[in-house]
């Protein structure tokens, strides 16, 4: 039977991998089960079983960059979970910004109302986080460097000058729906990030 010290050793090892609480609980349970089985069925000692389990998991627990634009290093298994979440957030933000871009093209007044509503939602979410101390200002500052927002910013910096060159115009850039789409994308993304934070779902906020 595994001792309390053995369990603490597993916990300590997994904590060094910076897993989110949900993934940590699952991986911890998996480790305990796998080690127990190796100890009972194959009569291995705890150090042998623990080492074998660590070797089995080495690819999943390898520390990698969370995203191309991320400064944070996380375990590969966490990256797999996060990438799926990021993809979903990007699809929602892209779909909605496309819809809003189309609305802007046909009726700028309607677009402005929706944009205002989105910004208000964002501000309300922020107020909720600050009032109920769910997030500090420094954490909010870090959110500005979220990899998904950095991706959007980079794309924006590439596309905005291109729009100017392609349409050979010196007109106000805000007359192009595409530019509004970038802003909408960023606001929707931030709303989602704050929403996931409220639900305590890891989206790599800090």
């Amino acid at each position: 039977m595994m001792t309390k010290e053995n369990l603490t050793e597993i916990e300590k090892y997994l904590k060094s991998k910076n897993l989110s609480s949900v993934v940590f609980a699952e991986v911890y349970d998996h480790f305990v089960m796998q080690i127990s089985e190796l100890m009972y069925n194959q009569e291995n000692s705890f150090p042998e079983a623990f080492l074998q389990t660590k070797v089995n998991w080495q690819n999943e627990l390898k520390m990698v960059k969370a995203d191309l634009f991320s400064f944070k290093r996380i375990a590969e298994i966490e990256k797999g979970v996060l990438q799926g979440r990021f993809r979903r957030m990007m699809i929602i933000a892209s779909g909605l910004s496309l819809v809003l871009g189309t609305i802007f093209y046909f009726d700028q007044h309607v677009y402005l109302y929706i944009q205002e509503a989105l910004i208000m939602t964002h501000l309300l979410f922020l107020m909720y986080h600050f009032v109920f101390r769910k997030m500090s200002f420094s954490e909010y500052q870090k959110m500005a460097f979220h990899p998904l927002l950095l991706r959007n910013l980079l794309l924006m910096l590439l596309i905005l000058p291109l729009t100017n060159i392609i349409f050979s115009t010196t007109k106000n850039l805000w007359e192009f729906p595409l530019n509004h789409m970038f802003v909408t994308f960023s606001v929707i993304l931030q709303i989602q990030l704050l929403y996931f934070r409220t639900k305590k779902i890891n989206v790599l906020m800090v």
Partner: protein, 83 residues
Amino acid sequence: MYGYQITQRAKELTEGELEMTEGALYPLLHKLEADGIIKAEVQEINGRSRKYYLLTDKGKKQQATQEDEMRSYLFNLKTIFDI
């Protein structure tokens, strides 16, 4: 079923042919949960949290559809190979 149990059951049913890597299993379980195909229930077992996964109604329907598709696919393959 919980994560470890799923890997062991898959191994047992396929007599070791199918070995699921945990790196593929957990992200997939989280995706299916987000899509509403499965739901999770956390239970305390020996002082640690264990997440049990269950098929939702939507998941059961999808399972039935995919089983039918797979059976039809295998039947067609068998027909081709038997010629």
